[in-house]
Symmetry: C3
Subunit: 138 residues, 3 copies
């Protein structure tokens, strides 16, 4: 009986301790700015974090006025976006509603950039899953 | 005895599973900007979310320089604020300290707009309650 | 046996109830803006919060373009930073990577200002520990 209760406790409390022990780096960047300065800053942060913590998970969500950062012939950081989008731990996700509002087609996006139905829902879902949140604005 | 332990497990773990299963849309918007562009963006987001997810809970907290959005004869989106403030799932809450700093009286606010003692505390309380957080800045 | 299970439940559920009952005020401010207006706003918020809730824990993390706020002879709020940095519940933490990028040395910082290896990791760690998050941008 005592053994059973011990096992139950492990099953219940295990995840709590595991959560406390994880040191993983997971961050979602919220980007709505049209300014190239903000776009370059996000690339710089991704670059620095991926160097210091190669297994860090990073995601940038684009909505509002920020979509040019991931649009061909408009992005000032297209090479960086394409390079990082090809790595497994980094993703760039564009809000479909914002794409529609700005007449941006799937074919206009840089390679590897993904589409999500609702950028805000994507962000708050990541928050709920325990990802850190950083608003990329100045 | 085994049955009792089973019931205890259900009681303990039930809320954990329930929390993981909820797909509800709850988001608090942090608005400090004086720019009408930001005010219109927040209204557009509320409009789009309330169309796609009619039972989404949304709250906008006003402090810093953003109060004109909810002040009569100053807001550029007064009709939208009044309309959404009348719906049960959407609320607009102004920081009382910011009101005092900007000499704004309760009677200056658009109908349905609420007052909270401390806008920052309102936001971090919502975060603690599991609401998603979005800074509305560009 | 029943007594044991009762004790186990208390041990397991205790922290859950405690967490729900805490009303503590803990907030991390994310500051990347170079604008003195943003720097003054953060000082005003710290001032107001520390008056209404003397035991509130507050931390400002500086990265991006915001470092002048904590640099000698450049900060427009140096007296306030120095004063608040001397209190036990308020801390000002600068990202070491941003310091390097802006050629800022430890000796350039106002007294009491601390250095963290990675400003973004500092912020998301605080979020994970249950601190509220406020992006200080306009």
């Amino acid at each position: 009986m005592k053994k059973n209760i011990f096992i139950i406790c492990i099953l219940i409390l295990g995840p709590v301790f595991l959560q406390a022990q994880t040191h993983d780096y997971k961050v979602v960047f919220d980007l709505t700015s049209s300014e190239a300065m903000a776009h370059k800053a996000v690339i710089r942060w991704i670059n620095e974090i991926s160097k210091s913590t190669p297994d860090a998970k990073m995601e940038v969500v684009f909505y509002g006025q920020s979509l040019n950062m991931v649009v061909k012939n408009k992005s000032e950081v297209s090479d960086d976006v394409t390079k990082f989008a090809a790595t497994p731990n980094i993703s760039f996700k564009v809000c479909a509603i914002a794409m529609k509002n700005h007449n941006i087609d799937k074919s206009d996006l840089l390679p590897g950039v993904e589409i999500v139905p609702d950028g805000i829902y994507e962000i708050i879902t990541k928050q709920k899953e325990g990802w850190g949140y950083i608003k990329a604005s100045f």
